[in-house]
Each structure stands twice: as structure tokens, then as C-alpha cells.
Amino acid sequence: MKKIYFFALFPLSFIFSPLVYAHHSGAMFDGGSVVEVTGKVKEFQYTNPHSWLLVDVTNEDGSVTTWGFEAEGPSTLMRAGIRKSALPPGTAITIRGNPMKDGRSAAAWIDAMVDGETINPRNGFAVIPASE
């Protein structure tokens, strides 16, 4: 199941936000809209410089589309509390992202809902200091 909705976001806030810092600019994503899909985790590519969560989504006609959601690399995901074991294949998930502008089934991962819990990969740049 797929939904797309749009936000009147200030476009530069997407480009400069440290929450979406990446080894590439965010030019390929539409920061003013959000896609939401519900499906099952196919694969969690826990890699540098970016991780990709692949989600199989069953369409109304029974066909399956694989969506890819880009997030930061392993260390930043760990800082967000998202370990590789958190999303094994087959996990039921509802996930949101800023979709690609070119129509392909990929997006910049915003957040997700798994077992009633919200997962937010963009929390990975939060600075939680060690005790002095």
C-alpha cells in the first residue's frame, strides 16, 4: 500500500539540515513531499556511506514493488538506536520517506512504525554526551 502527500516545506531547510547530511546532496529527493508504504522488510543493507532498507510492498493487483529507503551509515544508525538486528527480513513495517523526483521506488527515509514503535533514523546526529 502506498500513499504520497505533500508538504509546503522550505526547500533549503532540506538541503542544509544536518538531519539529512549525506555523502551526496539531497537534490534527487523531493523534500516537499512524503511517501508512505506498508509492507515487509526484504533486506537491510547496513553499509557505508549509506544504509538502505528494502521493503516489499504488495500492490492492489497482487504484484510486488520493492522500495528502497536511504538512511545514514551504520554508526549513525547505531546512534539512533537502530541496530542491524532490529529489522530482519519479513518484519511488517510502515515507513515514510521523501520520494525520488524521478519516479523510481526509492526515498530518503524519515521514520517508520514497527510493532507499534516509531523508529527514527534521523535521530542519529543527536549528540548524547558521555558523562564527564
Binding site: 549509506h50 523510481r104 521506488s105 558521555a130
Partner: protein, 325 residues
């Protein structure tokens, strides 16, 4: 009786002397203060202005470095026993404390504290125009080239800092990026033998608990993408590092670049040690080629694009982007 002209001359002379007498103690005070560490506190903006003015007194980065070296009586040598002392224990996993993508962490968005030359301002304007016209840009690190120094200071990923008596290593996990600061008394590579590199050549010395460094022989680059300026291959940097409390490292940065900066650009950089009770945060090898989905190409309009996802069989057919097709 004095003529009007004499009176005006006297008034002018009195004004100049008065102004100078006010200015001289202020600059002397700031100059003296700038040789010692300045804590960030409620008076930070005034201190920062003084540290900026301090840098502007020097014609070159090497003049500033040598003045700091002279103030340290040539600098001190550390031995392994010193490593047990808190000021030199920089162990732990750190990240940039804040500042987003601004080289000067105190500013945001379009704000700019660098005093740019006309060439530097024009280059920055071209970057802004590119984003305004296309909605994006192509960052040179998209193909996993190193960010280079001084951009190194702005990268938001994990860092480690390793102090030894003869070298200090400043590690950014991104693309396995290590800066080595030689503190064994050596000089820079001789000019006739020098060659440019992403992180250049860095020498340094200790003054009490402060590590002062000088870096040169660098590639040109940008302080960050977006509205941040560029720097030329003539850029040189003086840093003054200090562990200011149990979990924070800070560093004064004075950047000199005759092409893009009309005055040295001062900023205070900061890194915070992260909580890591379960020891899950570790710095591992950063391989940019390990996932095909992270390949990036530059589009004709100067923005970036993914050419070929491994989870889509027919990218060229389903994409509406000519660059992919």
C-alpha cells in the same frame, strides 16, 4: 590668542590621542588574552571578536604560528607519563558538538562571518545561484573523495583523537580520514619537495595543555556544501586544541587564504565525547564501494543522481530522468 585653525588642529590632535589611548590598552589587552585560552561563556561574542582581531594582526599563518610558539618558549615535549594526565587523555568516541554544515558553528543558514575577497564572494554566490536554479548541487565527496582539510572540521560523523608524545592523530571515520600532527620538533616538508594533499602537512607543539598546529600544502575545496565558501590551494590553518572538560575538545581555528579571504577567518570548533556504555560505537573501515545503491553521478545541471539501484530491474525504463536513461 590661538587662531581658529590652531584650535581645530589642537582639537583634532586631542581626539587622535584620546582615541589612541582608548584603543591601545584594548588591543594590548586582547592581544595578551588571545595568547591564552579563552573559555566560551556569556562573553563569548566579545572574546570571539578579539580572537578574530588577534589573527588579523599577522600577515601569514606562519607568523601567527611562530608568535604562539614564541609565547610557549618554543613549545614543550611530552613523554608517555604525561599521557596519564587528564589534559592529554583524549580517548573516547567523539562527534562534532553542533553547527550543522556551517564552518563557523556559531552561525546558521546564509549568515557568514568570513571576510571574503571579491573572488571568494563571487565563488560563494555561484554556489548559491546553483542551488536556487536547480534545487541542488553535486558534492565532490559523492564519489567518496576525502572531504579534505579544513572541511574536515565540519564532518558530523564519529571521531577519535589519539595523543602520543611525538604525534597526535585526529581521526574522522568518514573515508578512514586521519590527520597526523607531528609534535616531535620537525619542520614542514621543504617547499621544493612539498606536494599538495587532502589533509596537507601538519606540525605542532604543546603549550601547557594546548596543542598548537600549523597545516599547509592543501588541495583547494569547500568548507561545506550549500552556502559555505570555497578555499584555494593556498589555504593554511593554525589550530589551538584543548580538552576543556571531561567530555569536550575545542579548537581555535584561524584560516588564511589570500585568494578567498581578505582577513583570516576565526572560528571555535568543538567535539563532544558520545555516551557509549555498551561499546557499540566503534570506528570501522569505511568502504564507499560496498553498496551499489550508493553510487552517484553528476547530472548536466550540476546536481546528483543515483544511476542504478540493485532493487530495481529496469532503472532506465522507470526513471523520468535523462541522466539515468
Amino acid at each position: 590668542m590661538r587662531s581658529h585653525k590652531e584650535l581645530m588642529n589642537f582639537r583634532f590632535f586631542f581626539f587622535v590621542i584620546s582615541a589612541f589611548s582608548l584603543f591601545l590598552p584594548a588591543t594590548s589587552l586582547w592581544a595578551q588574552d588571545a595568547f591564552s585560552w579563552q573559555d566560551k561563556d556569556d562573553n563569548w561574542l566579545a572574546k570571539k571578536a578579539a580572537l578574530q582581531s588577534f589573527g588579523e594582526q599577522f600577515a601569514s599563518s606562519m607568523d601567527l604560528y611562530q608568535a604562539l610558539e614564541q609565547a610557549a618558549d618554543g613549545g614543550e615535549s611530552l613523554d608517555w607519563d604525561d599521557m596519564a594526565n587528564a589534559p592529554y587523555d583524549w580517548s573516547g568516541i567523539y562527534t562534532r558538538t553542533g553547527g550543522g554544515l556551517s564552518f563557523d558553528p556559531d552561525i546558521r543558514g546564509n549568515e557568514m562571518t568570513a571576510q571574503l575577497t571579491s573572488a571568494g564572494a563571487a565563488t560563494r554566490q555561484r554556489k548559491i545561484d546553483q542551488i536556487d536554479s536547480t534545487g541542488g548541487e553535486y558534492d565532490p565527496i559523492s564519489d567518496c573523495r576525502p572531504p579534505g582539510f579544513p572541511r574536515w572540521a565540519t564532518e558530523p560523523f564519529l571521531h577519535e583523537f589519539i595523543v602520543t608524545p611525538e604525534q597526535t592523530w585526529l581521526v574522522n571515520e568518514m573515508v578512514n580520514d586521519v590527520r597526523r600532527v607531528y609534535t616531535d620538533g620537525r619542520d614542514h616538508t621543504l617547499p621544493e619537495d612539498a606536494y599538495a594533499s587532502a589533509n596537507g602537512d601538519t606540525i605542532g607543539f604543546w603549550h601547557d595543555d594546548m596543542l598548537i598546529t600549523h597545516t599547509m600544502y592543501l588541495y583547494s575545496g569547500q568548507y561545506q556544501r550549500g552556502t559555505q565558501p570555497d578555499y584555494s590551494d593556498q589555504v593554511e590553518v593554525v589550530e589551538r586544541w584543548r580538552k576543556v572538560n571531561g567530555n569536550t575538545l575545542e579548537a581555535d581555528y584561524w584560516v588564511f587564504d589570500p585568494v578567498n579571504l581578505s582577513q583570516p577567518w576565526y572560528s571555535r570548533q568543538s567535539w563532544t565525547e558520545l555516551a557509549n556504555e555498551d561499546n557499540f560505537l566503534r570506528i570501522r573501515y569505511w568502504d564507499c564501494q560496498e553498496n551499489q545503491n550508493n553510487d552517484i553521478i553528476e547530472r548536466e545541471d550540476g546536481t546528483s543522481q543515483f544511476p542504478d539501484f540493485d532493487f530495481i530491474e529496469n532503472d532506465a525504463e522507470v526513471s523520468n530522468d535523462e541522466a539515468v536513461r
